[in-house]
């Protein structure tokens, strides 16, 4: 983190080597173009540099912090660019493994994601997908589906508790 704060090339490269692909992949799958994903990746690292002093490792993991930044920036962009057609979302358990591409830490995170997805029912998966990967608010989902806002919130909360519990007790880096 000190290296990132100083804009040290090696520190940024090390961080990129570990998290560049997941961040870029999130951008590509959410925003749909390589250009947008590139811009998002650059923005994430710039934001991380700006906020590096505020990162507290005792409060959370680096991967959580970085991917939260990535998701927030991607969703902001999704909301700004209304009317743009979105790509079909492809999740990690729908494609074959690509061994050798990523560090062990990222593979562990990916396994955790697969466990989390498999803990959800198909309906929950669709719901979480619309909220997390499409940037829809609970209110928007409620209005689209014609169901009470409270019901959507309860279902989202229940799904996120399942995601959380799916990896309880697992050692994540």
């Amino acid at each position: 983190m000190e290296g990132l704060l100083a804009g040290d090339d090696d520190a940024v490269r090390a961080l990129y080597a570990r998290y560049g692909r997941p961040i870029y992949s999130l951008g590509y799958r959410l925003l749909g173009t390589r250009e947008s994903a590139e811009e998002l990746t650059q923005d994430v690292f710039l934001t991380a540099w700006r906020k590096a002093a505020r990162f507290d490792p005792t409060r959370g993991r680096l991967s959580t912090w970085l991917m939260t930044i990535a998701h927030n920036l991607a969703v902001d962009r999704l909301r700004r660019e209304t009317g743009v057609s979105r790509p079909t979302l492809v999740l990690v358990d729908e494609v074959p493994d690509a061994p050798g591409l990523d560090e062990e830490a990222v593979l562990v995170e990916r396994d955790a994601a697969i466990r989390a997805l498999s803990s959800l029912t198909e309906a929950e998966r669709r719901l979480v997908g619309r909220a997390y990967f499409r940037g829809m608010t609970a209110r928007e989902i409620a209005e689209t589906d014609g169901i009470p806002l409270g019901t959507v919130k309860t279902r989202l909360r229940s799904a996120m508790i399942k995601v959380r519990k799916a990896n309880e007790g697992k050692e994540l880096l």
């Binding site: 990132l4 100083a6 804009g7 040290d8 090339d9 940024v12 490269r13 990129y16 560049g20 692909r21 997941p22 870029y24 992949s25 999130l26 590509y28 799958r29 250009e35 590139e38 811009e39 650059q42 690292f45 710039l46 540099w49 700006r50 959370g60 993991r61 991967s63 959580t64 991917m67 939260t68 990535a70 998701h71 927030n72 700004r80 660019e81 979302l89 492809v90 999740l91 990690v92 729908e94 494609v95 690509a98 995170e109 990916r110 955790a112 994601a113 989390a116 979480v128 909220a131 997390y132 990967f133 940037g135 608010t137 609970a138 919130k153 989202l156 996120m160 508790i161 995601v163 959380r164």
Partner: protein
């Protein structure tokens, strides 16, 4: 905001669906409430797990360099970065070229678009001006030890998508021995465009588009001028520059047309 109200909003917060107003109120509460903060932390971890659920994509080769460069540039003005001697001389080159483009860019643009040829005299003056610019540029490149005879430089002008929409210039350096480089300068950007920043500058070529950089409010001076530069692995064939505003609308567009091969200095 009470703990109950905060917890009611935590799921939406980690999914990105909370309004800015609610998010601020929740964050204010989390700053002092350890119990809610613990709950928020657990949900954040769950949410970050979902971020790893998207299928992995192939990383563009040039992206790492762009990221490193962007952070280095952001860090440098605050005196926190380290700029090597070689990089400093290259940045000097970039700054000098950008300044030259700023002065001469309009002239190149006018020549290439044949819009300056209201009279033969005016056209001749513009051609002479362009020639002079190229000679000065070649001298500059040689003096800064980037004068490999195999280096190839392309110059181009950027034209506005609508009248009165500013302009600009671009330069690409394609080299077999050093990293390729692009410099794009925009100028005279209209005031109303400031509502639609940042501008995104891309080069189009045989393998799609490459991001040269973005120009935000801090990157534009009072006259509406700004510059982006970036190094690339290979810019061969990247001959179109497109500048878009935040809404994706094309603001400027141009082609790299004038070839200026850098030759070895005379003995």
């Amino acid at each position: 905001m009470t703990c109950v109200a905060v917890r009611d909003r935590l799921t939406e917060r980690v999914l990105g669906g909370l309004s800015a107003r609610d998010a601020t109120a929740v964050d204010r509460h989390l700053a002092w409430c350890a119990a809610c903060r613990k709950e928020a932390g657990e949900l954040e971890r769950a949410s970050a797990t979902l971020a790893f659920a998207v299928a992995p994509s192939d990383l563009p080769e040039a992206l790492e360099g762009g990221v490193v460069d962007a952070v280095r540039r952001a860090a440098a003005p605050r005196g926190r970065g380290h700029v090597s001697g070689a990089r400093r001389s290259r940045l000097t080159l970039v700054a000098a070229l950008a300044a030259m483009l700023a002065v001469l860019g309009t002239g190149w643009g006018a020549v290439m678009a044949n819009r300056a040829a209201h009279s033969d005299l005016a056209a001749q003056r513009e051609v002479a001006r362009t020639q002079s610019a190229l000679e000065r540029f070649q001298g500059l490149v040689r003096s800064l030890e980037f004068g490999d005879p195999e280096n190839e430089v392309l110059l181009g002008s950027l034209n506005p998508a609508k009248i009165g929409g500013g302009g600009g210039s671009a330069l690409t350096l394609v080299s077999p021995t050093i990293a390729d480089m692009a410099i794009v300068l925009v100028e005279g950007m209209p005031v109303e465009l400031r509502e639609h920043l940042p501008l995104t500058v891309r080069l189009r070529g045989p393998e799609g588009a490459l991001l040269v950089g973005r120009i935000d409010g801090d990157g534009l001076d009072d006259s509406g001028a700004g510059t982006v530069t970036r190094e690339f692995g290979d810019l061969t064939g990247y001959d179109t520059v497109i500048v878009r505003d935040i809404g994706g609308r094309v603001v400027l567009r141009g082609s790299m047309q004038t070839r200026a091969t850098v030759t070895s200095p005379s003995p």
